[in-house]
């Protein structure tokens, strides 16, 4: 096996080595160029992109919440403003012993003992350098107590936060609304960035409907942070320049609400359940809007205990329900002027012809008796008398003559069965019945038929018809203005928080009624005037310093049996159960010659309209017309 013996060829090895060294150096050069190109890409071509990322790393935006706009009444009285609330915050890394600190705070009465564990968990769930709120809304006395002991609590401090303040407490809560913690649904409709640093948002009423104006624009401050998110002063050896932007305060809102009228309405309703809506017929301005009972709006901003919330939602009086906008009730006789106007307009009634009322009405070929609501008989009445004395028999007859389609169509022109479009929203449309409506509303074919008897009941505002107080107030304003119609509105102006300049919002006219003869309007209004002079509401017209026109209404909660009489013993027993009593309505406007206020009052289970609701309307009108002053000067 003679293998070839290789011997070292030094010359060749040297040559190969030198060649390889050249190749190696060329490869190194190529790699260096590759690296340089990569660096050129990162540092020159993509420089701006990476600068942005680096900036995003090192800078955190600390929002500065804008101060929320105030809410004023028409005279410039502040209805809603802001006040600082103090809360206790704790920074874990500055606190030597967290458990001990919390226990000592509880011993001082600054933290409920049962919340120690919760507070501890909350603090531990956050970063050690975060300032974590452990107790919200300290009272003045608690602030003082903490101030004395502050030195014993390193890492614990008082922080202020702006919260909503309601100088008049519950006043107008259903109109003004309230603010509460931002919910998941809210997050979907707001620009999150502009709400960074804000924890409360308007709910319901003006606070919600005018949220964009009230909120303003939050400012920000750039804060240098390190990789752990801790705020730091210096970046290496330097203190970098950081930007900031001042917040822009939200705009103040000027409401049409007249505080004296609103207060009069609230006081008059106290102890009862009901609603008052007062409008300026000339422009739709809401002079007063009350739903009673109300609730304390501050509760929502502060946050509830479970028990407090349960108490509010389970209350049999339903304080959270806005009866003025969402309470749909049978209208009772309050719609009689409109039925009368329909008859006049359609020339289906002779206003001067005196009908005889014997206390009951029956349709031809029917034995069913439609009784006079209050019992008794009116004798011979013409159209104006029938309105003034609220003669049911006259209107049973008129309704039967008009037919359901005419009634329904004409009432629709007064806005029934639809939302009025009030600027704070949240209305219910109520029900304006008609044969078509019945077809849609009922499933069983035998229920879908419209019976002539239903038309008769419709004529006195009983049956399927339901209306909301704001609808009735709006319809009354249209009567007062002889057909002119305006969208009801609470907010009449927006005041710039800095310059103080008020930008007036124009009234919003709605398509009204312009084809009805003025003589017909006059007749109906005279009937309403009669009601307050000699008719059902004569008591409240006495001693008024102005002329007024009105109409009472009584909505049955339970229908009365055929054989019963309203004043029977069985009814008397029912009347003793307060919640089964009839709802009491009153609508009015004044002065008749040049109407400045149109009002609707509802008192749930208030009995007859004349006794339950009418006096309240008188008090509100007195308060408004006497206190009448020019609207807030710009």
């Amino acid at each position: 096996m003679a293998a070839t013996v290789r011997i070292k060829d030094h010359w060749n090895e040297q040559r190969v080595f030198t060649a390889r060294a050249f190749v190696a150096m060329a490869t190194i050069g190529a790699l260096a160029v590759l690296l340089a190109l990569r660096l050129l890409w990162l540092q020159v071509v993509r420089h701006d992109y990476y600068v942005e990322l680096s900036q995003g790393n090192r800078v955190r935006l600390d929002p500065i919440p804008a101060s929320r706009g105030l809410i004023l009444d028409r005279n410039g009285t502040v209805l809603v403003d802001n006040e600082p609330a103090y809360q206790l915050e704790l920074i874990r890394e500055q606190t030597p012993d967290l458990g001990d600190t919390l226990r000592r705070l509880a011993a001082l009465g600054l933290l409920p003992a049962e919340e120690i564990d919760d507070a501890r968990r909350t603090v531990l769930s956050r970063r050690s350098f975060d300032s974590v709120p452990i107790r919200l809304r300290l009272s003045d006395e608690e602030i003082g107590r903490f101030a004395v002991h502050r030195y014993e609590f390193p890492g614990v401090d008082l922080r202020t936060r702006q919260t909503r303040h309601y100088p008049f407490g519950n006043l107008g809560v259903h109109a003004l609304g309230y603010v509460a913690a931002i919910s998941e649904q809210d997050l979907e409709r707001i620009d999150r960035a502009s709400y960074a640093g804000t924890s409360l948002i308007g709910k319901l009423g003006v606070e919600s409907a005018y949220e964009p104006q009230l909120h303003g624009h939050n400012g920000y401050r750039e804060i240098l942070v390190n990789a752990q998110g801790r705020s730091v002063e210096r970046q290496g050896a330097y203190q970098p320049e950081l930007r900031s932007a001042a917040p822009q305060a939200g705009a103040d809102l000027v409401l049409a609400i007249d505080l004296p009228a609103q207060q009069a309405a609230e006081e008059a309703l106290s102890g009862r359940r009901g609603a008052v809506v007062a409008l300026d017929p000339a422009n739709g301005d809401v002079i007063a809007l009350v739903s009673h009972p109300g609730f304390d709006p501050a509760l929502f901003g502060r946050g509830f205990t479970r028990a407090e919330y349960a108490q509010l939602t389970n209350d049999i009086d339903k304080p959270l329900l806005n009866r003025a906008l969402r309470g749909a009730y049978p209208s009772g006789s309050t719609i009689k002027p409109i039925i009368a106007l329909a008859g006049l307009h359609l020339r289906m009634v002779d206003p001067l012809r005196r009908e005889f009322c014997n206390g009951a009405f029956h349709l031809p070929r029917s034995a069913h008796l439609y009784r006079e609501g209050k019992g008794g008989r009116h004798g011979h009445v013409d159209l104006e008398d029938a309105i003034a004395r609220s003669c049911d028999v006259y209107f049973y007859s008129l309704a039967a003559t008009l037919g359901v389609n005419h009634i329904s169509g004409f009432m629709g022109r007064f806005g029934f069965g639809a939302e009025t479009g009030i600027d704070i929203g949240g209305e219910k449309p109520g029900i304006l019945p008609s044969p078509e409506w019945k077809k849609k509303a009922f499933r069983r074919p035998q229920d879908q038929v419209w019976f002539p008897g239903e038309t008769v009941n419709f004529g006195v505002g009983q049956g399927y018809l339901t209306v909301t107080p704001v609808q009735l107030a709006h319809a009354t304003a249209m009567l007062a203005m002889r057909g002119r119609s305006f969208r009801p509105r609470l907010v009449t102006g927006v005041r710039d928080a800095v310059s103080g300049a008020v930008k007036a919002l124009p009234a919003a006219p709605l398509p009204g009624i312009d084809d009805v003869d003025s003589t017909n309007w006059d007749r109906v209004i005279r009937g309403m005037e009669g009601a307050t002079r000699y008719g059902t509401a004569a008591a409240i017209g006495k001693g008024a310093a102005y002329t007024l026109a009105g109409k009472t209404g009584t909505a049955q909660v339970f229908s009365i049996g055929q054989q019963e009489r309203y004043n029977d013993a069985a009814n008397a027993a029912r009347q003793r159960n307060e919640r089964l009593r009839d709802h009491s309505w009153f609508v009015a406007f004044a002065p008749v010659e040049s109407p400045r206020i149109a009002i609707c009052v509802l008192v749930e289970n208030g009995g007859f309209g004349a006794s339950g609701a009418a006096p309240i309307a008188r008090r509100v009108m007195d308060a408004y017309l006497r206190a009448a002053q020019p609207a807030v000067a710009p």
Partner: protein, 378 residues
């Protein structure tokens, strides 16, 4: 007039005095200057990257001093002696690696250090020198290009320590050791056909090796392919280092003013990712200056290796020079996103470890080989 005529000759005498001193120390002037500049750069950057810690700078100075001593000692060591002790150094290194692995096995964790009480010491660093020394010594006697048997022996010399390091586990260092062995074989004139065959085999092995990688090692590779897939986890390092480099721009944000580095967004800022700190604070200019210094050092080192006249010197010298270049490229490539993240420090710049000492020791060996180029040989 007299003075003016005297001055040049004085200057010439001074220069020659420096040259005489270098010759006596058996050191190379240009290489020494290049290494010195890189070390100065390292001190400046480390002061900033460590968050202005003079302590860090002092410790690095001590390591550079130790490295300089090792360099001078090895420059004086005779080439024949180096060749003869190569097997013993290699054997000692392997023994230490086995000890480290055993401790790591008992301690159930990654173990790279040997705690000698006063000094903590990384045996894998020795192998970076011992592997090329033994391989060069083995091939010195044999005809080149190496035949199959020689190739197998050299493969064993490379893969035994690389495997021991890999199971520590320290994949980066293992790859570097294997890489230096591969470079040595290339310089030994390995035939192109064999190179191609080995590359194909390596590709196959890579596919097979994927199965044996630790999860975190696989993750590094996957993250390299798509760093944004895991921005808070494994991708974080790469994303943050690219932000640091990219935001530095042409001229950088200024010394001690890099927000990524100073606010600790950049992980491992004074060790593996120090390249990004330079990119952020000194910009593209700063990085190109550094790369130019590296290029100069590598070119000079390769030049010195080509000037030696025996196989051992040529192979060992060139391997040390090229391995140095490989370290630079792997670290810079990893930090700038060209290569996956492997734990390889930037030579002479990164803080910590034994690598400054071994690197300077390697250059000492190279200078010694060069200075004795006419004394040794056939």
């Amino acid at each position: 007039m007299m003075r003016e005529e005297l001055q040049p000759s004085t200057a010439r005498r001074t220069l020659s005095a420096t040259a005489r001193l270098l010759a006596a120390l058996q050191l190379d002037g240009p290489l020494l200057v290049g290494l010195g500049l890189i070390c100065c750069y390292a001190l400046i950057v480390q002061y900033s990257a460590s968050g202005q810690s003079l302590d860090t700078v002092a410790r690095t100075l001590v390591r550079i001093g130790l490295g300089a001593l090792a360099m001078m000692a090895l420059a004086h060591t005779s080439t024949n002696f180096l060749r003869r002790i190569a097997p013993w150094v290699f054997a000692a290194g392997v023994l230490l690696l086995v000890v480290v692995d055993a401790i790591g096995y008992v301690g159930k964790g990654a173990q790279r250090w040997l705690d000698l009480g006063l000094v903590r010491f990384q045996p894998s660093e020795i192998m970076k020198l011992a592997v090329p020394m033994l391989a060069a010594a083995f091939l010195h006697e044999r005809p080149l290009p190496p035949d199959w048997r020689a190739l197998l022996v050299v493969a064993g010399i490379i893969l035994l320590p690389a495997g021991l390091v890999a199971i520590q586990p320290d994949l980066g260092t293992a790859l570097l050791i294997a890489g230096s062995g591969a470079l040595l074989l290339l310089m030994a004139g390995l035939r192109v056909s064999i190179i191609v065959a080995l590359v194909v085999a390596a590709a196959g092995a890579a596919v097979a090796g994927w199965q044996f990688l630790h999860d975190y090692q696989r993750q590094r590779v996957l993250t390299f392919v798509n760093p944004e897939s895991d921005p808070l986890g494994s991708g974080y390092h790469i994303i943050q280092s690219q932000i640091a480099i990219g935001s530095g721009g042409l001229f950088g944000k200024g010394w001690m003013n890099g927000s990524q580095a100073q606010l600790e967004f950049l992980p491992e800022r004074s060790t593996d990712f120090i390249f990004a700190v330079i990119g952020e604070e000194f910009g593209l200019i700063g990085l190109l200056v550094l790369l130019a210094l590296y290029l100069f050092v590598v070119s000079r080192a390769v030049y010195l290796a080509t000037q030696t006249s025996d196989t051992f010197s040529r192979l060992l010298g060139s391997t040390l020079a090229l391995t140095f270049a490989l370290y630079v490229f792997i670290n810079a490539g990893m930090v700038s996103g060209l290569l996956p993240v492997v734990g390889v420090p930037l030579p002479l710049i990164s803080y910590g470890g034994t690598s400054v000492v071994t690197l300077l020791a390697g250059f000492g060996i190279l200078m010694g080989l060069y200075s004795r180029r006419k004394l040794v040989g056939s």
